[in-house]
Amino acid sequence: MKGLFIKDYSYIKQSKFLFLFLIIFGLGFSFIYDYHTFVYGYFSVFPSIMLMSTINYDDYNHGFTSLLSLPISKKEYIKQKYCLGLILGLLFLAIAFIISCLSYYRSLHSFQFLNSDLFCGCIMSLMFAYFIIALATPVAIYFGSQKGQLAMMVIFGGIFVMGFIIYFIFNLLGIDLKAWIDTIASSSIPFITLGIVVITAILNFISYQISIKIFNKKEY
């Protein structure tokens, strides 16, 4: 697995300027608009995007054929991708956390913002990143590099549309969804966070099993 990490690190290293741009943009947006938590949502989509790009690189020009001729099992390959997703999620969360702390401190001139709500929010954004990984990885493995990007757009578009439909239905029923979420969140946010962690872990486990099945079934 070490070799696979070296490979993916080398790929990701090639995107260092994009990385820098994302950080500067996140930093700038948080500072200019005093929107301290913006970076959590903003950075939560990047782990999956980076993970998918490593799969696309692997698939480039019959890449899987060559890769699987090395002493790397299909299961090991999939396992490494989910581990990488885990690491990328933590990495981007750490960056988001630093930027948000800087932004908060600049406004408040104190560390009062470091409370349980912020930490629960961090975990939730991390879980959102892992949720997208759970959704996107089997799709990328199934469709490969060429159709994979289109499939990703469909998935992200689907999530957006679904969110919009749910919001629309609740509005039609006269339920203020935002207020409802705020009420639940303020009363039992640690339990909700824990629940989301458990659900995300289960989703990732299922996603991992599906990815292995797809990968084993494919021919190279």
Binding site: I6, S10, G63, T65, S66
Partner: protein
Amino acid sequence: MIEIDGIKKTYKDFTLDCSLAIQPGTITGLLGQNGAGKTTLFKAIMDLIHVEKGKILIFGKDHQELDKNQVGFVLSNTCICEYLKLRELIQMLNAVYDHFHLDHFIEQCKAHHLPFDKKINEFSTGMKAKLNILIALSHEAKLLLLDEPTAGLDVVAREEILDLIRTFMEEDEERCVLISSHISSDLESLCDDIYMIDQGHIILHETNDCLLDEYGLLKVTKEQYQDLDLEYILKTKEENYGYACLSNHKQFYKENYPDIVIEKNTLDILFSMMLGGH
């Protein structure tokens, strides 16, 4: 070392259906046209495709349990991780293989003028082919599976690669190589054993010595053909002068038909006759 027994793989308009055996200490050539099934066979051996029936044993074990540390695999026109620079690829390979000869590999890359700070996808065809072979030879493999390793190369580069394979075999007599090519001269100078594949089926298997010594091309007029004993004629092709006949007992015809012109066999002749004759 490799036993392939009645494997079958069906695609929409192609079926691979073949058996073959590769002995330790031998270089076995797989000769066939483009699309004959050579690459499919290699992929089946490496468990990159699923075969519908038959079995493949490598070192006495099912191919799905194959330890790929023991195999050097080259597939024509593909390279490992083409987006990486050679320097990065070396680090990766060093971590992936159990017995990667790092220093020797770096020396070989330098000797073959492979640029360390260039991405593999920017390499020329010749550079990629050399890199593929060097990787296959870098980790104490016992078996080399080489699918068209010399495709698209000039004569000098081809000879360099064939020399690397010869050196690999000289180092350990238990090693073996399965190499495919549609350039028959490459196989003629290298192989101990030749399989010919066409439309997914093995149509000929002989030792190279036998093919060169015992096979011959008889050039006969129409009159000579009438009197010819056809028992040892494998294929016949109509020509301007009469008929070209491929025989696997050229000595018989030399002795019994002294007037007939018998050309020394080459793999090119064999290839052309086996595929074009009737």
